[in-house]
């Protein structure tokens, strides 16, 4: 079948096998060739692609729930959306959630995803109590921060390259309502938004939309969104009218002029200051989830997201250079996001480190990759790195320089999967 990541590039032909019980897997793994798990297909690039994939579509049952502790045990194909549907009305919400709920629990672990509360709560792995992993030889290994610790550290953020994540035990956080108290600040430039991130560290949730095409004194102008779990409000989410992008946008719809115009209107549409308004949790965390197939906006050739993080000390200088380059080159991105991360964790390949992360969407077009190579240089010069979950084109050298604990990861794979049964197009490209 035809298969791609969320960026719809590359589009490949792959053989997909599903399973319902872990007992079916050893027979699958005994088939020659490489395998990688492909769940909801929401990683942007080629990290869940290969000629043979194992899909967790049918491996999606909830096994147990402890309403005292808020601990749920489920199979790795269960989506975050399903967990929210089931447990939010009972007063429980995810401790860490990325900007989409349409991903699987297994994918959240494999990418060690982060959310708007990274500075206070860390990555997704911090709410993972334990999981079972099927290794290349068909053995089932129990992993937790204390048991088989090195395999746990390699699997969280390990992009599915250590084995197949089976059942997972997760901790949820108690919430009083399905609403968020949101505060919005309009910031006129990069300096102002960085200052505001620092000043408002005490907020549980924070993220900024940034106008990546504004130049000069307006460079880095942003809308900073801050939030707290609301103490009041119903536990039921209001119904959402779903929108859809039915077909690919024609070529040429997105260019520097339309994006510049969009950014100007979007920036201007926010008042300078909104304090503590009550919003449902869905539009706050998942603004794009209500639009089906929004990835079609980038047209038939697909898109990629370039997400970088820079250490805090080098962040301001690095971001200034990067925004300057983007503005000059005119590669427009209207979904540009800025966030201040908290400290990095112990996982070998997790992306976040203390400092600023910037995420930019780019339509795939011919001169783009050469331009991103230039940005790579700036990122590395400032001690930063790129997010594997979004990547589709990073050169191996850039990956190696950005992830200094790669040798620890490789050692775990040598121990558990010497033959490299688990590989993706990305892992082969990067020489993981």
């Amino acid at each position: 079948m035809k298969l791609s990541g969320w960026g719809r590039y590359p589009l490949i032909n792959a053989k997909a096998v599903s399973f319902e019980s872990e007992a079916e897997l050893p027979a699958v793994l005994s088939v020659a060739g490489e395998w990688i798990v492909h769940a909801k297909g929401r990683s942007y690039g080629d990290s869940a692609l290969n000629q043979q994939v194992i899909t967790t579509r049918r491996y999606n049952k909830i096994i147990a729930f402890d309403p005292q502790q808020g601990v749920v045990e489920c199979e790795s194909g269960v989506s975050l959306a399903e967990l929210i549907d089931v447990f939010l009305p009972r007063g429980w919400f995810l401790m860490v959630t990325p900007g989409t709920k349409l991903i699987s629990v297994g994918g959240a672990i494999a990418a060690d995803v982060h959310g708007k509360n990274h500075h206070s709560a860390g990555c997704f792995s911090s709410c993972v109590l334990s999981f079972q992993l099927m290794s290349a030889d068909g053995r089932i290994v129990h992993c937790s921060p204390t048991e088989n610790r090195e395999l746990f550290l390699a699997t969280c953020g390990g992009m599915g390259l250590t084995g197949i994540i089976l059942t997972v035990r997760l901790k949820l956080q108690p919430v009083k309502s399905a609403y968020i108290r949101e505060t919005i600040l309009r910031c006129r430039n990069l300096e102002e938004v960085c200052g505001a991130f620092e000043q408002h560290r005490a907020f549980t949730y924070s993220v900024a939309w940034i106008d990546c095409l504004a130049q000069g004194s307006q460079m880095g102008r942003s809308i900073l969104m801050l939030g707290e779990n609301a103490e009041t409000g119903p536990r039921q989410l209001p119904p959402v009218r779903r929108l859809s992008v039915p077909v690919n946008f024609p070529r040429g719809c997105l260019n520097r002029y339309t994006v510049r115009l969009f950014n100007r209107i979007y920036y201007g549409s926010h008042p300078a200051f909104v304090e503590n308004r009550l919003v449902p949790l869905e539009p706050f965390f998942y603004p794009l989830d209500r639009i089906d197939n929004w990835n079609r906006m980038y047209g038939a050739s697909g898109f990629t997201q370039y997400q970088l993080v820079l250490p805090k000390a080098a962040s301001f200088a690095g971001l200034t250079k990067i925004l300057d380059r983007i503005g000059k080159a005119g590669f427009g991105s209207f979904l540009a996001v800025l966030k201040l991360f908290g400290p990095e964790n112990d996982n070998y390949l997790s992306f976040p480190m203390e400092g600023y992360t910037l995420a930019l969407d780019f339509k795939i077009e011919r001169p783009l990759f050469a331009f991103l190579d230039e940005l790579d240089r700036i990122v590395l010069d400032h001690g930063g790195r790129l997010y594997l979950t979004k990547d589709v084109r990073m050169p191996a050298q850039v990956f190696r320089e950005g992830y200094p604990r790669l040798h620890l990861f490789a050692a775990v794979r040598d121990k558990w999967d010497k033959q490299r049964k688990f590989n993706s197009l990305q892992s082969k490209r990067l020489g993981v």
């Binding site: 079948m1 096998v17 599903s18 319902e20 019980s21 096994i63 729930f65 089931v86």
Partner: protein, 243 residues
């Protein structure tokens, strides 16, 4: 509401059971040959929807067991979903009649056996509904799957007769005609992406048909029109097609 789902391990049946648990607050009997797999599904539906789901052993091909099976259900169901089916292997069935007979048995004979028992009960009580999962494959014979198609075609005619018989007693019979659905049954087949539904989409269509008291429902809806075209091709032309 108590709902009996026969062949509950099928992907569509499980998704449909979830819909009835969520929207009708139905307690479920999940019946199939693989009880271990059912136990996991029953637990999942119980946690998600706060209903009772009971896994039960049921073998559609073992017709002798059907009366006792239905007798053992307490309380009796208000609705029954017949979702079991067996695609079989066309080529093997052409060479070996036992294979062919098995396809008829699993898709048609077994369904008639259990549904006659159900129908008698519903007719007596003047209450209940039956949802039968047939197939668009039963609407015209094709060389690639005419055993399966013949069995499903017979099942469709059986359901239409049953509907005719039970309508005066207020018992609803719904014939479901799915086109391509991405399930374990079709996993090895190369299906056209745009025509292929997910089990959840099929379940949503079937549940809507139940709510709207439809008699026949195609899922996805466009199969109604595709089949209209396929049925209208004249036989002298159709016999030359490679389908």
């Amino acid at each position: 509401m108590n709902l009996l789902v026969l062949g509950a391990n099928s992907d569509v049946a499980f998704a449909l059971a979830g819909r009835f648990a969520q929207f009708e607050k139905a307690d479920l009997y999940l019946a199939s040959r693989n009880v271990t797999a059912l136990e996991k599904k029953a637990r999942d539906l119980t946690i998600r929807h706060g209903i009772t789901a009971t896994p039960l052993f049921f073998d559609a091909e073992d017709c002798k067991s059907h009366a006792d099976f239905y007798e053992s259900l307490k309380p009796k169901p208000d609705g029954v979903v017949a979702a079991f089916g067996y695609l079989g292997d066309q080529a093997a069935a052409q060479k070996d009649f036992h294979q062919a007979r098995r396809i008829f048995h699993a898709n048609f004979i077994g369904a008639v056996s259990i549904l006659e028992i159900v129908a008698a009960d519903f007719e007596r009580r003047g209450h209940g509904f039956i949802i039968g999962l047939s197939s668009v494959a039963g609407q015209r014979g094709r060389q690639s799957n005419y055993f399966y198609g013949a069995a499903k075609g017979a099942f469709s005619i059986y359901l239409s007769g049953l509907r005719n018989r039970l309508a005066p007693r207020g018992v609803k019979v719904i014939t479901v005609l799915p086109g391509f659905i991405r399930t374990k049954m079709t996993e090895s087949m190369e299906l056209p992406e745009k025509l292929t539904a997910l089990p959840e989409e099929a379940a949503r269509d079937i549940h809507r048909a139940f709510q709207k008291s439809k008699d026949i429902v195609y899922t996805r809806w466009f199969w109604k029109w595709i089949m209209l075209v396929i049925r209208s091709i004249p036989e002298p032309v159709f016999k030359r097609l490679r389908l």
